[in-house]
């Protein structure tokens, strides 16, 4: 049984997804992390999601992530974020405005699924 579970979690599609969300100060994205996490758990998706401000972004990026999400209000800095993400070979996308908030979980999860 233990072996079976192990095999299951090793399969790529069930493997835990690591998502990094970057906003200006890491405050509003913390709310979004909570909403996304709740929605993902509901669907049985295992995730590790972290919120950072622009200052910590580059240092955190090297920890290895499956996806970087950029908060809509800092989308004008996408080019700078992208450069670092490409170096770390991590896909990056801007969150849809409607998905960015405490009630945006379902919408954001849908966007995440399309990206991963």
């Amino acid at each position: 049984m233990v072996l079976y579970v192990k095999q299951l979690t090793n399969r790529g599609d069930i493997r835990m997804k690591k998502i990094l969300i970057v906003c200006s100060g890491g405050m509003s994205s913390a709310i979004v992390v909570k909403a996304l996490k709740k929605e993902a758990t509901k669907e049985g998706m295992e995730t590790e999601i972290k919120a950072v401000g622009t200052g910590e972004y580059e240092d955190t990026l090297s920890n290895g992530w499956d996806l970087v999400l950029v908060a809509p209000q800092v989308r004008h800095r996408l080019d700078v974020f992208k450069e670092a993400a490409e170096e770390a070979e991590t896909p990056i996308a801007v969150i849809d405005a409607q998905g960015y908030g405490p009630l945006g979980g379902p919408k954001l999860l849908q966007q995440v699924k399309e990206l991963i």
Partner: protein, 421 residues
């Protein structure tokens, strides 16, 4: 109204965000942000030194000098810390060694100050040039230092170490030639030729600082910030990149006045002016709107109101800007943009006529506005009243627009419910 949003998106936004993302301004922003913890904690010692309660004030008076030391060595040396932070960020943006960039900037900045000989003490550095008063010099010197570093490294003019030398050791020698160029360069200008860089640079930036303290100087950032947020861009982050050195210089002059025991402070418009009195609950003072949403007949607005009220009290308002939404929403964007202009004018005159104390303390931005305003003004209860008045004004301005939008949403919700049946 659609044309209006198009105007913001196409005409206003591109040059502003481009400016804010300009490499040097970005380094200034990140470098200054990294000094904020020191400035916030340091400036709190001003409150300890001048508590708003007379009894306590008398009690601490004999110890004033001692209590103010942490303040003098943090906020009082603001430019010194910023110089390292800016140099570090700028060097990193060029993919150069951050520590080398920071240290070179620091040395270049310190070289602009002339040590003074004091009997029985030895050589001392005049601290006034290392605080807010020297901020613009620190910025320019960081640019000079890192650009020279970059120029030399790009042309491979550096001290080559044999291959056996470990990387970390080799890197510490990389800054050797840049330092050998920068230090004599600044030394000759400042100390040999006797050119007063501080006066020269401050005279260039003085008009900007003075303008930042006028009524238009207050309203322009307010309007730009709400216009940017109305199209979903972080207005404070963009405008602050340019305005923050000005706001910090204004703050420093106020803080120096407080430390010197002044009753009336020289400046009205350091950043806490906007943060606590205008942006109550975040840019656009949206917590007033969220309050109406709590009582909404629209189930969506009510749900969003409940989810947004706690972040709103802590000045986090992305949930309501993107959720309601205010962004690109012609109905809610009008009070969002107009309201702060009115509270901005009111607050300016309240402080101009000294009905409310002018801000001198930086408090953490997630505090509820009345508490933040009380701390920012060094404990003036009239500041709390002004925040409540501004909140009431914003609530009144939002109300009719909120009602109109609510009506629209309720109609849509009922339509959906009808379809489901």
């Amino acid at each position: 109204m659609n044309k209006f949003f198009k105007f913001i998106e196409k005409v206003l936004m591109p040059p502003m965000t481009k400016l804010a993302e300009q490499r040097h301004l970005r380094a200034v922003r990140d470098g200054i942000v990294s000094t904020m913890p020191l400035i916030i904690i340091g400036s709190f010692f001003l409150i300890f030194a001048f508590p708003p309660i007379p009894f306590l004030a008398e009690l601490v008076e004999p110890h004033l000098g001692t209590i103010l030391f942490p303040f003098r060595l943090t906020m009082g040396l603001m430019a010194l810390y910023a110089s390292y932070g800016i140099g570090h960020s700028l060097a990193k943006s060029y993919k150069l060694d951050g520590v080398s960039g920071g240290l070179l900037s620091l040395a270049t900045f310190l070289l602009t100050v002339t040590p003074q000989m004091v009997d029985e003490v030895g050589f001392v550095l005049p601290m006034d040039k290392l605080g807010g008063g020297g901020l613009f010099v620190a910025i320019i010197m960081a640019f000079v230092a890192v650009e020279i570093l970059r120029f030399l490294q790009e042309r491979n003019i550096m001290f080559k170490m044999p291959e056996e030398v470990p990387d970390s050791v080799a890197r510490s020698f990389e800054a050797l030639i840049p330092a050998g160029v920068i230090i004599p360069f600044v030394w000759i200008i400042v100390h040999v030729l006797g050119f007063d860089i501080h006066t020269f640079i401050m005279e260039i930036f003085r008009p900007l600082v003075t303008a930042g303290n006028t009524l238009p100087g207050v309203l322009v950032p307010i309007i730009l910030i709400t216009l940017l947020w109305a199209s979903g861009i972080h207005g404070v982050s963009v405008v602050g990149a340019v305005a923050r050195p000005i706001w910090l210089t204004l703050l420093d002059e106020n803080v120096e006045a407080v430390a010197a025991g002044a009753e009336v402070l020289p400046n009205i418009a350091p950043e806490p002016f906007f943060q606590w009195f205008i942006w109550i609950g975040g840019s656009g003072a949206t917590v007033a709107l969220v309050m109406w949403m709590l009582f909404s007949k629209s189930s969506y607005l009510k749900k969003l109101g409940k989810a947004s009220i706690i972040p709103g009290i802590c000045n986090i308002n992305e949930p309501v800007i993107f959720g309601a939404p205010i962004m690109l929403n012609p109905i809610l964007a009008i009070p969002f943009i107009l309201g702060p202009i009115i509270t901005g004018i009111l607050t300016y005159f309240a402080m101009y006529f000294n009905l409310v104390a002018r801000p001198s303390i930086l408090a953490p931005w997630t505090l509820p506005a009345p508490i933040g305003a009380y701390l920012a003004t060094g404990g003036d209860f009239r500041a709390v009243i002004l925040v409540l008045v501004n909140f009431a004004i914003m609530a009144a301005i939002y109300y009719p627009f909120f009602k109109a939008y609510e009506k629209k949403l309720v109609a849509e919700e009922q339509g959906e419910a009808g379809e489901q049946i």
